[in-house]
């Protein structure tokens, strides 16, 4: 990028500065640390950056223009200049009525994009009266046993033009089926509503832990959703590949890059096996990442992951098609960095997390609420979280220009380093056989445990300082209003479930579940038959979620993960 003669001269003036101005200053002050590292601990951060650090960056080849290969600057040539992101929320608790109340409240406040949080039994394919579900029904989200529960939760909300979905990952085919049945019953064309299903089983082996089947079965079922949507409801979004919980569980920024690409690639290849080509798959999916504390490291991470994806996907799929090479990113701000101590401080943290995403031109940002470290968020904290990006965009002019940090010696140098390290982790995973192998052999879990333990040690030794936790600690507790759940929700939901079970046409129910068992068995024998139509029939016959997954568990078995800590 630079003339060699210029760099030669620069090297000389840099050395003069070091031995003169800098040396004098360092004789008078001591820097806070002997070595400064990036927030995730991935990179050593230099005192200053100059063209020497980004010297081999080629503008045309490495930076270029937004919307063009290698997409370092984003996939949209106009970025936030055409920002119409709705007020988006992720919410839900209790049984249908209480969740419905919150959804209506959000809708009335202008939101047309509400992700539905499901409780843990629902995310695990269990009914609300399963012995393991006791005490968990409606706790971290809405309890759904049958399609009627979903209808109840969405009651009174005009669904045309509405966008919703679920982060359920191991229940993808069933989640798709209940949304389809809700459309059928409310006489809605699926294309009139936007549905997004996370459908990312890898996330559950490495993060939240709501895995059901082994990784191979889980990927197969998830790609059935991709195939079904592609053929029948192409406007819906079948999958996001998510690295947030891996990051929160201890991965570094560059591991997020490498592991994220490895995971997405595995899904893209699974989709291809089902006849969905990358140019039809990639534009419908997101790589969903954490937006973390170190503003610059994060911006570099996002720029690097787009560039690295383009470079890896091009030879892999033998294409220059921008639909395949342009990687759409979405983020969830780093919930793990929010503290229970002095929770209002979290507003500042989340704002910076959102800023990092916006400076990197992220297409879809979800902000953690400041009270998340203490309880489920309240309506007010959720609203504040969602408004953050709008304040930054409308009032602080963050989105006036696309990729505003491009060309900064620091950012370009970090982006290069992040790409290089991301490539290293990607290669590691590929060498052991790809993402499925990295889960099966405990590699991801080991890397996460290592990182998280290091982080905890750094805090306990004071090497890493967190305000309110180990620096400027305040003894007096600050109390904020906390969300109170629906205490009676569980009993109500269980009673309703029993009533729903009694009302069904037993013959239709049995034949649909028998047919599902046959489909699952033939899949277990290697058939490529899609599971969704059989599940859809069972949902139409009012089979409960637990009954449907009971059939699947009988055939595919229940997964037990390796214990790594």
């Amino acid at each position: 990028m630079y003339d060699p003669k210029f760099l030669e001269e620069l090297r000389k003036s840099f050395s003069d500065w070091e031995t003169g101005t800098l040396k004098d200053r360092l004789a008078a002050v001591k820097e806070n640390r002997a070595e400064f590292t990036s927030g995730s601990g991935d990179l050593i951060t230099e005192r200053i950056y100059t063209p020497l650090d980004a010297g081999d960056t080629d503008f045309q080849k490495d930076i270029g223009f937004p919307g063009q290969y290698p997409f370092t600057r984003g996939i949209d040539p106009v970025g936030y200049r055409a920002f119409h992101s709705p007020l988006g929320f992720y919410a839900g608790y209790g049984s249908g009525e209480s969740a419905n109340k919150r959804y209506r409240q959000l809708y009335a406040a202008g939101s047309r994009d509400i992700g539905l949080a499901f409780d843990l039994p629902t995310q695990l394919g269990m009914d609300s009266d399963d012995p393991l579900a006791a005490g968990e029904v409606g706790k971290v989200g809405l309890a759904v046993d049958t399609a009627a529960d979903l209808e109840r939760a969405l009651k009174g909300i005009p669904l045309t033009g509405f966008k919703t979905g679920t982060v359920g990952n191991c229940i993808g085919p069933w989640a798709l089926a209940i949304f389809l049945v809700v459309c059928e019953r409310s006489k809605l064309q699926p294309s009139q509503i936007g549905i997004r299903i996370q459908n990312d089983p890898f996330k559950e082996y490495t993060g939240r832990g709501t895995y059901i089947f082994n990784p191979s079965v889980a990927v197969d079922l998830a790609s059935d959703v991709v195939e079904y949507m592609y053929k029948n409801v192409p406007s819906w979004e079948p999958q996001w590949s998510c690295t947030t919980t891996m990051r929160w569980g201890g991965c570094t920024a560059s591991q997020e890059v490498g592991f994220g690409i490895a995971n997405l690639l595995c899904y893209a290849e699974a989709a291809m096996e089902k006849g969905v080509n990358p140019e039809d798959f990639i534009p419908r999916v997101d790589l969903h990442m954490s937006s973390d504390n170190d503003l610059f490291e994060e911006v570099a991470k996002f720029r690097a992951v787009r560039r690295l994806w383009a470079k890896i996907a091009s030879p892999r799929f033998n294409t220059r098609d921008p639909r395949v090479l342009a990687l759409r990113l979405s983020t969830y701000t780093a919930g793990d960095k929010l503290t229970a101590q002095e929770p209002l401080n979290n507003v500042i943290r989340s704002t910076m997390h959102v800023l990092a995403s916006m400076l990197a031109g992220i297409d879809h940002i979800t902000t953690a609420a400041y009270d998340e470290a203490l309880a489920l968020p309240t309506f007010q904290s959720t609203r504040l979280a969602s408004l953050t990006k709008h304040i930054l965009n409308n009032e602080c002019c963050i989105g006036n220009t696309v990729d505003p940090l491009a060309g900064s010696y620091y950012i370009e140098s970090l982006t290069n380093e992040m790409e290089e390290k991301g490539r290293y982790w990607f290669d590691q995973v590929q060498d052991m056989g790809g993402a499925r192998a990295a889960i099966d052999n405990g590699f991801y879990l080991k890397e996460m445990a290592k990182g998280r333990y290091r982080y905890q040690r750094e805090i306990e030794s004071g090497q890493r300082q967190v305000i309110g936790v180990n620096k400027f600690v305040q003894d007096e507790k600050i109390s904020i209003p906390l969300f109170k759940g629906d205490e009676k929700g569980e009993a109500k939901q269980v009673a309703r479930l029993n009533k729903a079970r009694a009302k069904r046409n037993k013959t239709r129910l049995k034949s649909s579940l028998d047919a599902l068992a046959r489909t699952a068995e033939s899949k277990a024998k290697g058939s490529t038959v899609n599971i969704v139509p059989s599940i859809l029939e069972a949902v139409r016959a009012d089979a409960t979620e637990g009954e449907i997954f009971g059939v699947l568990r009988n055939v595919f078995g229940q997964y037990r993960p390796p214990s790594v800590f």
């Binding site: 843990l120 579900a133 006791a134 832990g209 993960p561 790594v564 800590f565």
Partner: protein, 152 residues
């Protein structure tokens, strides 16, 4: 001194040495359906490095499974990690199951996201201590060592 008594003396020295060095056994368990294991794993590793023997159940354990493991593994302390909000239901169930086995006041400590207002209720049902977010691993280790010193 006869050689037999020397041998016996040596044996008792060894026995005492062994007893004094006997490691505290801790079961770290995640009851319920929540699978966020980060906190449980950090504690497990930190306690191990503090010289204790750790048995970690993994996620998604029923109260029955946890109580059975605690008894079979003969642990000194049970540490529960709960983030889902189901702490009251889960703790009372586990304590009840211990009581059904004739074990009263089994040492149980809890970590995770437990709202302050729920802490007294947990302690009243028999939980010894609740460690919220921001607790250092060394504080938990010291607490367990204190417990072991009191009971041995």
């Amino acid at each position: 001194m006869s050689s037999a008594s020397t041998v016996r003396r040596q044996f008792f020295d060894l026995w005492e040495y062994y007893m004094s060095k006997k490691k505290i056994r801790v079961l770290i368990a995640k009851p319920g359906l929540d699978g966020h294991e980060t906190g449980a794993k950090i504690i497990a590793r930190a306690l191990m490095e503090a010289g204790m023997e750790i048995i970690y159940t993994g996620a998604r354990q029923t109260p029955e499974m946890i109580v059975r493991t605690a008894i079979e593994e003969d642990v000194d302390v049970l540490g529960l990690s709960i983030l889902s909000g189901a702490h009251k239901e889960l703790c009372s169930r586990i304590i009840k199951l211990f009581e059904d086995e004739g074990i009263i006041n089994f040492p149980i400590i809890v970590g995770g996201i437990i709202p302050d207002v729920d802490v007294p209720a947990c302690k009243k049902m028999g939980v010894l201590e609740v460690f919220g977010p921001g607790t250092t691993t060394s504080r938990v280790a010291d607490y367990i060592k204190g417990l072991a010193a009191k009971t041995s």
